[in-house]
């Protein structure tokens, strides 16, 4: 049971990553590899600031701002210098590897014993219930603080998901969504499509860096390699969400991206428990995304063939 609580919590933290990937992949229709750099950027900023004694909340907010800058940079390279979106992302991701090493000063920072945002969440358990004892749940005992950590993460993700929804439904957000849909039309309505891309990718990577910052604080370490495979992971979550929910409207898509991330984590936890070698995780994730991407086309072909 404790394993499941942990999987759900990590799933919720990574849901912010899938919301970021949702913006780049589903709104702007391109796989933004900046994600792999900005997850680590968020983690390294949060880790090094917390170790240096800054308040965890400030560290987390600076991590978020760092992600925004990284994403905007990709947007600027893509729109102003007319470099292909995928390549723009790769350029920034590669550059971020060195930046992250500089931020941390070494290749990883363990900070298990430091006070993080999650320490506050754990302390809430004592504040509310007076104890930090374990409680029985579904026949197993779980430390109360784990439940509080899960609840707080859920609240944060729900609020951010809601804010993203409100933003994308605003006048600015509507123009942003239209930019990914039909740039010519949006320009004809007097909207600067370059600005939309730059701000949109900034926002996407801000969420992704926040996800990295929270993940580092939850695990108690940041590592320069932790971004590898994160984009595909985000894609997998977005796709699982879409398949599960089935509706293509914005509210459902955002909810789907969050749920998709949690479900993906649970599946991974179960698979690992059943004896899947951890080394195969990324291979299987990539295969999963591959199949999910070609499946709709295959189904359509089959349906087309069945028609007389």
């Amino acid at each position: 049971m404790s394993l499941i609580i942990g999987a759900i919590t990590i799933g919720l933290i990574l849901a912010l990553l899938s919301l970021g990937v949702f913006i780049s992949f589903r709104i702007f229709n391109f796989a933004d590899l900046t994600a792999e750099g900005s997850v680590t950027l968020g983690a390294s900023i949060a880790a090094s600031m917390i170790v240096a004694g800054y308040p965890p909340l400030l560290a987390t907010l600076i991590a978020l701002a760092g992600g925004f800058m990284a994403g905007s940079l990709t947007g600027i390279i893509h729109t102003k210098f007319k470099i292909n979106g995928l390549l723009s992302g790769i350029l920034v991701m590669t550059a971020l590897y060195s930046v992250n090493l500089h931020v941390m000063g070494k290749s990883n920072i363990p900070f298990m014993s430091e006070t993080t945002l999650f320490t506050y969440f754990e302390n809430l358990a004592t504040v509310f219930s007076g104890t930090s004892e374990s409680v029985g749940l579904f026949g197993s005992t779980i430390p109360l603080k784990d439940i509080f950590v899960l609840a707080c993460t859920l609240i944060i993700v729900t609020i951010l998901g809601g804010l993203l929804y409100l933003f994308l439904k605003s006048n600015f957000g509507t123009a942003m969504r239209a930019t990914g849909n039909n740039q010519q039309m949006v320009r004809a309505q007097g909207v600067n499509t370059n600005t939309m891309m730059i701000v949109g990718l900034g926002l996407s990577n801000a969420l992704i860096a926040l996800s990295g910052a929270l993940l580092a604080q939850y695990q108690g370490f940041a590592d320069v390699q932790m971004g590898i495979g994160m984009l595909v992971l985000g894609l997998a979550s977005v796709i699982i969400g879409e398949v599960l929910i089935g509706e293509k409207t914005l509210g459902y898509l955002i909810t789907g991206a969050i749920l998709g991330s949690v479900i993906f984590r649970l599946l991974v936890a179960v698979a690992l428990r059943l004896g899947m070698p951890p080394n195969d995780l990324k291979l299987i994730t990539a295969l999963f995304v591959f199949i999910a991407l070609i499946l709709p086309r295959l189904l359509k072909k089959k349906r087309g063939a069945e028609k007389p």
Binding site: L166, F167, K169, S170, N171, F172, G173, T174, A175, R177, A178, N181, N182, Q184, M185, V186, R187, A188, Q189, G190, V191, N192, T193, K248
Partner: protein, 270 residues
Amino acid sequence: MIDILNLSKTFHPGTINEVNALCDITFRVEEGSFVVLVGTNGSGKSSLLNAIAGNFIADHGKIILDGIDITRMAEHKRAKYIGRVFQNPFSGTAPDMSIAENIALAARRGQPGNLRWALPETLLRGFRERVKPLGMELEDRLDSPIGKLSGGQRQALTLLMASWIKPKLLLLDEHTAALDPKTAGKVIQLTEEVVRKNQMTTLMVTHSMPQAVKMGDRILMLHKGKIVNDMNGQEKQRLKIGDLMTLFDEIRKKDQIDQTVADMIDQMYV
């Protein structure tokens, strides 16, 4: 209202694909005038519209719209003054977004974005009122994605969107060419209504001779990036399809003569 002064554009200069799309074009359109642009393929009609809309920046010359020099202005900035309907019904709308969201974008053309809710109920009521006269029963489907509509419905909506806030200039680029004759007829009727009601200064490119003769108060005929004919007033009113065809034939003949002369010189001297 709009002054085009010595406008020139060469695409792919210095290559084998060099095209002189616009050669030193100068004309003036008065406020409220409805100008029809005709010409053979590659005559520069669409290039002229695209130059005015800002899809590309002209090599030489000036474009002055209502006293504002828009020659070098970015496309999205001049969109504040210009309404557009494209030849391709897919170009003018964002397919995955709802009818209401598309209209909401058009209703704020040229205004800076803000973080207010894009579709408040008061706005939607206004949308329904203005969509209803189209007679396409779209007023009850404002939530459905615009990509689900037919080409004709999309063009009708794009036209409505282009004129939602009265633009200083309306650009119609063969906006019925991709539609079946019946739907094209409907969109043309709507075009006349919209233009007349708002007295909009309009430039319309068309390949349809009946449209060119019937619509507008002035015809500009383009050929090889130049204006070869400019008819307005009585002359335009009296113009018949036959006359227009004759004019086209003359141009074609002139071209052929040029070609024969060139061949002759080739044979004699080379």
